[in-house]
């Protein structure tokens, strides 16, 4: 049955297709320009400071890295969990995950204070640092997934694609655990310091990765005018609904746990009640627009068969994802460290006050540049390699 799947490169030459490619390329180029400006001038041209040391670029980067591991889920479902109905999309799943990871890593690299010292990061490891482990996990992920993709695409090697898929699946779980632990291991800050961040990041990756996957799948099929039967979308739609609900569950547990301990009330109050932008982002964007509305769009009976509602749900999940990561990363730093419990603290270094942060143009450029670079890589690979099935027809069996 699987051998009957036929894959083909994207062949369209429509102005829309080239327009999208050129637009992606242009934004990616602007991203490089933004990074270069920050590199030459120093980070004072960004909104980042000694209080908010990781800013908007890191929100984009973490989003892409988290989504990357999630994008691999479809391939894992086919290879590891033997769901043959997902098999036709396994190749695309692998390629998209590599592309997203490369985009995210490019942002992280270009935001470094000394990006030209990449070689130091690649050759000198402090193995107690989760960051150092992540460097290995990320590069290893790319190698493993590319190998996995090749094994899937090379007929003579297909029997090896199952074990490779298992390795890739386990690796991506470790990888996202590592990404979550970048924050989870920060014991000094109330906002982080939680083992829950690792599984939260894994479940976030499921939702974010699938949302991007669905959008790009629909886009490329539409651009190349291939047949995409609703039954396939229906399956992905249900999956996305489950993932969104799961993220919501973890968020609730995370905050309930924090709320139980009195010492964290200040921080929870900050995020949930009087944190200004962070509170707004939490309730309005992350919970409202990013979780509840997509759930409604996915499950409301009149919209069940609407492709448009699925697209809207995916877009909203991504918007909610950015809000969620913005709250975790930037909100977590904005809340002041509590070095002297019981005292009112003040200094010229912004002790005891909520740190301000306004992202600059350069950070937006770098962030969007990485995002578009990832999409561009995915689109270009679709054109040169037979990744996408020629058609996803209604299932007969």
């Amino acid at each position: 049955m699987q051998s009957s799947i036929r894959y083909a490169e994207i062949r369209t030459s429509s102005p829309g297709y080239w327009g999208i490619l050129i637009a992606l390329f242009a934004v990616a180029l602007l991203g490089v320009a933004g990074a270069h400006h920050m590199d030459v001038e120093g980070h004072h041209v960004s909104g980042m400071s000694n209080q908010i040391v990781w800013g908007l670029p890191h929100v984009f980067a973490i989003f892409l890295i988290v989504a990357a591991s999630g994008a691999l889920n479809i391939a894992s479902l086919a290879s590891v969990f033997a769901r043959q109905d997902y098999k036709p999309l396994a190749r695309f799943s692998a390629i998209l995950s590599v592309a997203l990871l490369v985009g995210g890593l490019a942002i992280l690299l270009l935001d470094l204070g000394r990006p030209e010292r990449l070689i130091v990061a690649m050759t000198q490891y402090n193995f107690k640092s989760i960051f150092a482990w992540n460097i290995i996990l990320y590069t290893g992920f790319v190698v493993i997934v590319v190998a996995y993709l090749w094994l899937m695409m090379e007929r003579r090697m297909q029997r090896w694609s199952k074990p490779a898929g298992l390795v890739a699946f386990l690796w991506r779980l470790v990888l996202t655990t590592g990404t979550g632990s970048i924050f989870g291991f920060l014991v000094a800050r109330e906002a982080f310091d939680s083992a829950l961040l690792a599984p939260l990041f894994i479940i976030m990756s499921f939702a974010f990765g699938l949302a991007i996957f669905i959008l790009l799948l629909m886009l490329s099929f539409w651009l190349d005018q291939r047949e995409l039967d609703g039954s396939h979308l229906q399956r992905l739609r249900k999956l996305l609904g489950i993932f969104i609900a799961a993220v919501l569950y973890f968020v609730v547990v995370f905050h309930l746990t924090k709320l139980y301990g009195t010492q964290n009330h200040g921080f929870e109050r900050f995020i949930l009640m009087d944190g200004g932008i962070y509170t707004t982002l939490f309730w309005l964007v992350q919970i409202g627009l990013g979780s509840l509305l997509p759930l409604a769009l996915i499950y409301a009976p009149p919209l069940q068969d609407s492709a448009k509602s699925l697209v809207a749900a995916c877009l909203l999940v991504i918007v909610g994802a950015f809000a969620q990561l913005y709250i975790i990363i930037i909100g977590g730093q904005a809340y002041p460290l509590n070095i002297f419990p019981g005292y009112i603290v003040a200094s010229s270094f912004f002790d005891g006050v909520v740190a301000e942060y306004t992202p600059s143009l350069w950070e937006f450029l770098l962030g969007f540049g990485g995002l578009t670079a990832a999409l561009l890589i995915a689109m270009l690979v679709l054109r040169v390699l037979p990744i996408m099935p020629e058609a996803l027809r209604a299932e007969s069996g």
Partner: protein
């Protein structure tokens, strides 16, 4: 100049052979080299653990200001009023008790932890603890990821956000790397147990030592004796990091 273009390349056969031997030595004898380095390292006192004891009762607000400006002079950093990006190796903290309104001032800087979280998280090992307990950033291998700043419980580190010029020879510092208090390591390397960090120099008068530098590992040192007699507070003691900087009067 440029009158003798061959000068650079003129070398006698003997020099040449010597050079070849030297290069060969570099290539084939790294083991010998390592062995010798071990012998040669004589700079810091490996048995010591340097620390500072800060008596907040002996420090007025003006004293703490003096600490900050002494550090600025010593290491060549400045902070523009209200700047969010300028470095602050040491800063003046004002603590106020909410019930009574009682205020005190203290200098806040790198606490030179025995188990520094900044060292744990640094991906390249640029953030490191010297054998004598001083926590530093090796700016030659710092890639500017700022993870150490995320991890530090004391907010002791700064990132250099712009190009610098006219740095002082004792304090090389440049854009894109992280820095913090060095406990005046250049003075420590010169004077050992007799060293007086710049901040201490600025506030210590006659025999009163509001900021006392010394060896925590030496039970006979003044700092150990004073800690034994009067005690000292470790900031964020709950984290178990065992900082080398201790406070009295908190």
């Amino acid at each position: 100049m440029a009158t003798n273009p061959g000068k650079l390349l003129q070398s006698s056969r003997r020099d040449f052979l010597k050079g070849t031997a030297a290069v060969a030595t570099i290539l084939i004898a790294p083991g010998i080299f390592l062995y010798k380095t071990g012998q040669a390292a004589a700079g810091l006192e490996r048995e010591a653990r340097w620390g500072m004891l800060i008596d907040t009762n002996a420090l007025s607000e003006a004293d703490v200001d003096a600490c900050v400006s002494a550090c600025q002079r010593e290491h060549g950093w400045q902070t523009a009023e209200g700047s969010r990006t300028d470095a602050q190796w040491v800063r003046k903290l004002r603590l106020e008790e909410p019930e009574t309104g009682h205020q005190k001032f203290l200098p806040m800087m790198c606490q030179h932890c025995e188990s520094p979280p900044c060292v744990d998280v640094c991906p390249t090992g640029a953030s490191f603890k010297r054998a004598d307990g001083i926590v530093l950033v090796d700016r030659h291998t710092c890639i500017g990821c700022r993870y150490c700043m995320m991890a530090c419980p004391y907010k002791a580190r700064s990132f250099i956000h712009e190009n610098l010029k006219d740095q002082l020879p004792v304090a090389p510092r440049g854009k894109g790397t992280v820095e913090s208090c060095t406990m005046c390591v250049h003075r420590v390397d010169r004077d050992g147990a007799d060293a007086v960090p710049a901040c201490a120099e600025a506030v210590n008068r006659n025999d009163s030592k509001a900021i006392l530098f010394g060896n925590l590992n030496d039970p006979q040192s003044e700092i150990s004796r004073r800690l034994r007699e009067l005690g000292g507070t470790r900031l964020r003691a709950d984290m178990g990091l065992n900082p080398g900087v201790r406070y009295q009067g908190l």
